[in-house]
């Protein structure tokens, strides 16, 4: 029996990216765009399947250290590889319809695949050097992808803003890394932890930690580095918004979880810099800002962008609560929430993509009467909205429940109270979409034209997973719990 390398999913993703470019160069016939799209979708699916297989076979149970400890294949990296891989599959399938007829289609898929590779590497990065490289491998394709519709002013503007904030935060992060390196003399996460626990480190190290945190806050669209997100998500092609707000955010969190639990263990560094307290405050601000801003939007896409910030706030609870009498459950709660969020949020953005293809407009008002024309897709969107709000029609309720309950057990009642209030408020703007689609009558008669099959399939697949997880949540929670357990030792 052939033994696969532990990094097989990452290799698969990278190779498929190259394969897409090669096929594009040599494919003789027409329908080239559809072929490369199908290859990208199949490739991401294979990578996801490999990661699932690894988890199932128990590969992640004990950590595989690769490249002299620069990368680590464990349940955390596999869990997030499955997540970003599935999101990338959905996005690739949806894009087949979305980018048909645009120029540079193969490059589009190659960029998506490269970014996905970066995300799964980021989840495995076990050294600050690989963390930074992986972050850049995610970011650079993302900038280009946001600007993909280059005849569209908004898209280009969004990309420029995203790039400028991204460049700044990369600089902040790499400066932070250099400070941490200067103070500890190492880039590998376990070695940093050793240096930290052997002797008390000064303020330079503390500044470094905060700056590294800043880099992650950018990647996850959390306050105070969130303000690129609404523009970027709104201006980008909708599948790319789905990709960035689900997969990119999840990968950022994966790396943040690993770096902060492995390299900066709280009991050792809290004397220098109590990052958990900082994260707790930022979590509260992030979720409140995201949800309140989302409540005031008129465009559905922009609402989803702000709601994405709000959900980043919920997930931050997992890091914040580590300072409590922490068992690893809160962290696992954050991971499960990211997982479910990956599907319901991707589905919601893909529905927006569907609406863009139908040319019905982008505000809540424009969605009026959509359910009469497209009941099944509207039902899927209804599931996404309610699941995002935390109503148990989808697994969003479960992950929120576990996250909040374990945070309460860790002693963070105040943070959970804020989160619950936010969650209740979020129902208002999510249900506006549902109300517009089902209850309101359109101002004028409209027709939708043909149904983009691939996009439709992607939306339905996301809905089926969102609902299906409600019944079969065990594999996700088990993997998340064991990953968190492994991380915190």
């Amino acid at each position: 029996m052939v033994e696969l390398p532990p990094l097989a999913p990452q290799y698969a993703l990278g190779l498929v990216a190259l394969l897409v470019l090669a096929v594009d160069a040599v494919w003789p016939g027409d329908r080239r765009e559809d072929v490369v799209g199908a290859i990208a979708a199949a490739g991401t699916l294979v990578a996801t399947g490999l990661a699932v297989w690894f988890i199932w076979a128990g590969t992640g149970g004990d950590a595989f250290s690769v490249f002299d400890g620069a990368l680590m294949v464990d349940n955390l990296s596999l869990f997030f590889t499955v997540l970003v891989g599935s999101v990338a599959t959905l996005v690739s399938v949806a894009s087949i319809d979305y980018v048909r007829g645009e120029s540079h289609v193969a490059e589009y898929y190659a960029l998506v695949l490269l970014a996905t590779t970066g995300m799964s590497v980021l989840a495995a990065a076990n050294s600050l050097a690989t963390v930074f490289i992986a972050v850049e491998l995610v970011s650079l394709p993302s900038y280009a992808l946001v600007a993909y519709l280059k005849h569209n002013q908004d898209s280009v503007e969004a990309s420029l803003k995203y790039f400028l904030v991204g460049a700044l935060s990369s600089a902040v992060m790499v400066y932070g890394i250099s400070l941490v390196y200067g103070a500890t003399g190492s880039l590998r996460l376990p070695a940093i932890a050793e240096a930290v626990s052997s002797e008390p480190l000064g303020g330079v190290f503390g500044v470094g930690v905060v700056m590294v945190l800043g880099g992650f806050l950018f990647k996850t669209a959390s306050v105070p580095f969130h303000f690129w997100a609404p523009e970027a998500y709104e201006g980008a092609p909708a599948p790319i918004s789905a990709f960035l707000s689900s997969a990119s955010k999840a990968a950022g969190f994966a790396a943040a979880f690993r770096v902060f639990t492995v390299a900066f263990p709280l009991d050792a560094v809290s004397g220098t810099v109590n990052w958990a307290l900082l994260v707790a405050v930022l979590a509260a601000v992030t979720m409140t800002l995201g949800n309140f801003a989302a409540a005031r939007q008129e465009s559905v896409k922009r609402m989803l962008a702000y709601s994405s910030i709000g959900h980043a706030g919920y997930v931050l609870i997992g890091l914040a609560a580590l300072s409590g009498n922490a068992d690893d459950l809160v962290l696992a709660g954050s991971m499960t929430h990211l997982f479910v969020y990956g599907f319901m949020n991707t589905g919601a953005f893909l529905f927006v993509a569907l609406a863009e293809q139908w040319e019905v407009g982008e505000t809540f008002e424009d969605y009026r009467g959509l359910a009469a024309k497209a009941p099944v897709a509207s039902l899927a969107m209804t599931v996404f909205m309610f699941s995002l709000a935390g109503i148990p029609v989808g697994a969003g309720f479960l992950s929120k429940y576990f996250l909040f309950a374990s945070a309460i057990d860790a002693g963070f009642v105040w943070l959970v109270a804020i989160a619950v209030v936010n969650s209740a408020l979020s129902l208002y703007f999510y249900s506006r979409v549902v109300k517009a689609m089902w209850a309101d009558s359109p101002e004028s008669e409209f027709s939708l034209g043909s149904t983009p099959t691939a996009l439709y399939v992607a939306v339905l697949a996301a809905a089926v997973v969102t609902v299906g997880l409600l019944a079969a949540f065990d594999p996700v929670t088990d993997t998340a719990v064991s990953a968190a357990h492994l991380l915190l030792g």
Partner: protein
Amino acid sequence: MLIEALLAVTFLSALCVLAAPDEWASRLGSVLSLLPLGGALYLYSTYDGAGNALLQSGSPAFETNIDWFSFGSYVMHWHVGLDGISLPLVVLTTVLTTIAMVSAWTTIEDRQSQFYALLLFTEASLVGVFSALDFFVWFVFWEFVLVPMYLLIAVWGGPRRAYAGIKFFVYTNVASLVLFIGFMLVVFASPVQSLDLAAVAAAVRGGEIQSLYGVSANTITTAAFLALLFGFAVKTALVPVHTWLPDAYTEAPTPVVVVLAGVVTKMGTYSLLRFNVTMFPETTRDFAPLLGVLAVVTVLYGAIVAVSQQDIKRIVAYTSIPSMGFVLLGLVTYTQYGLSGATFQMVSHGLLIAVLFLAVGAIERSTGTRMVDKISGVASEMPVTASVFVAGAFGYMGLPLMSGFAAEFFVFTGSFRAEYANAPLITAVAMFGIVVIAGYLLWTMQRVLFGPLRVDTDASVREVARSDLAPAVVLVLLAVALGVAPDLFMQMIQDSLTSILGGGV
């Protein structure tokens, strides 16, 4: 496994109907709804449970208790089962859904496959609510009900459907949030590790609630009780949190209001009984005088406001409010009579209010209006509808040999004997509500049904289709059957209620 099979069949039927073309949906949906109906009747005929499912005083029937999934130390159980309190409501759910479907044949013309699919989806979720014995399972189904119900009102309702739908949705969702927090409060404060209702009930009744974050156990118990009470009061539409009800009932199309008034509000009363009364006997007794007053206010308010309505559908909608007051009155008595009367009233009210709404729907369709002052004497042209209306109304007033009589008689008998302060006085005032209800129902019938025929619209009044009449007639017959032989349900109800009274102190 029978409950799971029932749920699966109903959910799958919903999917089948959703996929079917509109032309078949009405017949297909109605035929498929016979499957859960038959299933529920089969469960009824083979019921072998005993005692109360929450108090472990016997064994619930058809019980399944397996680990569903786990998250570290949190383990979610799939725990379902039926006892004498829930089984009648499951039967009621399936009966009323089939009735609603048949009555929709002539009324629902748009987007039929979605309509019938959502009704079946509601039915499955309702069965889930009544059969759940784990809070988690219960809550999932509780919220499941909300979504199709909202869509059914907001899409197929009357002119103000969007407003009525969102109002219903917001009210009940806020209620859900509050009750969820309330329940979690006791779970966190108790040593119980699971969300199993029986385990939590045992902990609360056994005084195992501990203080949490410096808040005393007593305060936590009271806060949880009040949070749950608030949540269920909204669903039941007790005054003063009833204001979603008249809008939702009036705007919902007839088939939907049959399910909404007939079963969905029973979720509230059923849960009041299951959670507040069963789990918190001490606190309920402490609050009994207050709750009694709340019940009376609900009765009188509903009855008096109904008098001033001009729209017969609104009259019937407001008529529904006092009945829920009677249920509350029975629940707080802590007597065998009161509790069993209240439980019986849930079923009886479900049948009778459906009859009234079906009759009102028929009159509206035939005459084109619901305004009392625009129609009179329709009985001469619509004799069957008029008879059904009269039968339903008399059942509502508590005519002996109909189910309403048995229910209300038990409630009042129990309430007079209740031990809390001023119970007889409160009961007497509540009984006065019956007089008001009887008065305005008779007056309404006098004006609308009898006298010379006069209709201020262009419609030509004639009897409605048989498929509209048959459901109402069937329901009247069922109400009579339950009135003649209350033991069809009463025995199992009483068997399950006894242990609530037995322990607890």
